[in-house]
Symmetry: C2
């Protein structure tokens, strides 16, 4: 590319768009489906049931310790598809680029996306690029949509939590949100603080292949663990109780939360899942998760309360605090951290 | 909604996000799949082959004669899926909203999307909303991704054009681009000038159901008819010749093009398709298209030249001009009209 910044022309659909696609995008996302360059991709789907998910990424800054907006966008949608109990196969990429973005930055982001795709084992099969004038967007926004196939007899919707279920969390919380916030504010950071952005589809496959019953799978991203547990409590109309001392938070992350006045329960994660599992299967599923590269610090953090608990508590989340009290964990009110993903 | 502007909080993933989703979005896009509110949608797909497409809409202004960014985003992706020869079934919606957008505008746009979805016969099954601070986006950007099922034995990729094929255009060109440009510049407009944004999936179904052989289907959106024909000429490695006098342009649109110095061949359309059809089937397919609500002005505009044409001309598009000459129709160079879709 002769010029070193993205121009409005790159999004025109004309000659310069085509040269960007053929010179930068196709070589990186190399696969025969995308290379067809039709208006859409034609895909073989060996299943009657698929999962379909979309997410738009507007994180600021676009580069941060441990990753950038590119792998965040791939992993995020891979995980959303996986949380339907599906095996993610294909994703689409929609770029909105602000005129003036250095081509070098775009190349790094796209390369990171291609690498993340390979790591997750999915193909980027269709895409779209728009360029808007300076000041009409902020560097780059990325939408990814994903498709995966759902095995027979798998149903892990948030409405399936049942009394007695154990709640497994796959690792430490608040890493991603605190990383982005610290990078944005240019705070001096401990090297332990980096995004947890990771593909969780291999972990989900291992859980499902183990044959143990799973009621709910969900990744606590925007809004954090607290919000996600509230969503499940409402969808399933159950009371959830978690134990504060069981929830792993890295020391450096906990310190930063304390310094800034944030509750890690509401800080976004990008490489963690929670699984609701019948008690008799919980230990086995926990061990399966721990064997995964991204699940080493998995643990049981709480349970769904018995059917005969107070009806007023249904749809609510409680936490036994470190000092022995119990408090309501409410849904996040208002904006804690904008543009975290 | 108490406040009358979109706030950063509306995109937080917390309480206010949830109230916007449950109060505004769910009632409009009412369907049981979306209402599950899981990370992704679970879909029944009665086919082994699907089409998958994505597009992001950044049109400016967001409201223009005949439509707004909402129906544009639904119709655009419905059409991209249909151009794979598929029956569109499901779409996702990813919103990026600039803080301060009037809630009233958002409601109008979402309602238009819901109406467009009903007209096309598809369901909006999964979505995502991000809000960015004032000045970091321009009012609203919308990504839609779509899934459709492809019937057996259908393959209408741009690489399938064959010598002798007749080229059918489903109606007048340049309506959408000239409408948006005129609205943006606040030009006094003839009431004949309005977007052609429309769902073409019913037309495609009729063509396919007719049982006649179709080689290529494509909608000439960004870059216009000229760019789309060039793409097909290259993908199929054939020479294309079109007749200028056969290409319908509304008088008001042609006048505006002349006034502003634009070539209608490169102006975006949002409700037109071109079909490459073996000559023996061309009249029948043309009649089928003319019966559709959006195909009344369909006509044959040219053909693919015979195999023995000059090899140097392969991959090129020529036009017999009104005054009897022949000129190359090149791919659009540079940005003619930014943010047209």
């Amino acid at each position: 590319m002769a010029d070193n910044k993205v121009l409005l022309d790159h999004g025109s659909g004309g000659k310069i768009s085509h040269s960007m696609i053929s010179e930068i995008i196709l070589p990186l996302f190399d696969n025969p489906i995308l290379a067809m360059l039709d208006d859409g991709a034609t895909l073989d789907i060996p299943s009657d049931k698929i999962a379909f998910s979309t997410d738009t990424y507007v994180v600021e800054p676009i580069f941060f310790p441990g990753g950038n907006i590119g792998d965040l966008a791939v992993n995020g949608t891979v995980n959303d598809v996986a949380m339907c109990g599906a095996k993610p196969l294909y994703i689409s990429v929609g770029l909105i680029i602000e005129e003036g973005l250095p081509i070098k930055d775009l190349e790094i982001i796209l390369k990171t996306m291609a690498d993340a795709g390979r790591k997750a084992g999915i193909n980027i099969v269709t895409g779209d690029t728009k360029v808007v004038p300076r000041g009409k967007a902020d560097k780059i926004f990325i939408n990814t949509s994903g498709i995966g196939i759902i095995p027979d007899n798998i149903n892990v919707t948030g409405a399936n939590a049942r009394p007695g279920d154990k709640i497994i969390l796959s690792g430490t919380i608040a890493d991603h949100g605190i990383t982005v916030l610290s990078a944005r504010e240019d705070l001096k950071m401990n090297s332990d603080i980096k995004t947890d952005s990771a593909p969780l589809n291999h972990m989900v496959k291992a859980i499902i292949d183990s044959g143990k019953k799973i009621h709910v799978l969900r990744d606590p991203t925007r809004g954090g663990l607290g919000t996600t547990l509230n969503e499940i409590a409402r969808q399933s109309n159950v009371e959830i109780k978690i134990q504060e001392k069981a929830i792993p938070v890295k020391n450096a992350v906990a310190g930063m939360c304390e310094l800034l006045g944030f509750d890690p329960l509401y800080i976004a994660n990008e490489g963690k899942l929670i699984a609701f599992v019948p008690p008799e299967h919980a230990d086995h599923v926990l061990e399966t998760i721990k064997k995964d590269e991204f699940g080493k610090h998995a643990c049981i953090i709480g349970q769904v309360m018995p059917e005969d608990s107070d009806p007023e508590n249904k749809g609510r989340v409680y936490m036994e605090t470190l000092i022995g009290g119990t408090r309501i964990v409410d849904m996040l009110t208002g904006e804690q951290l904008p543009r975290i993903c």
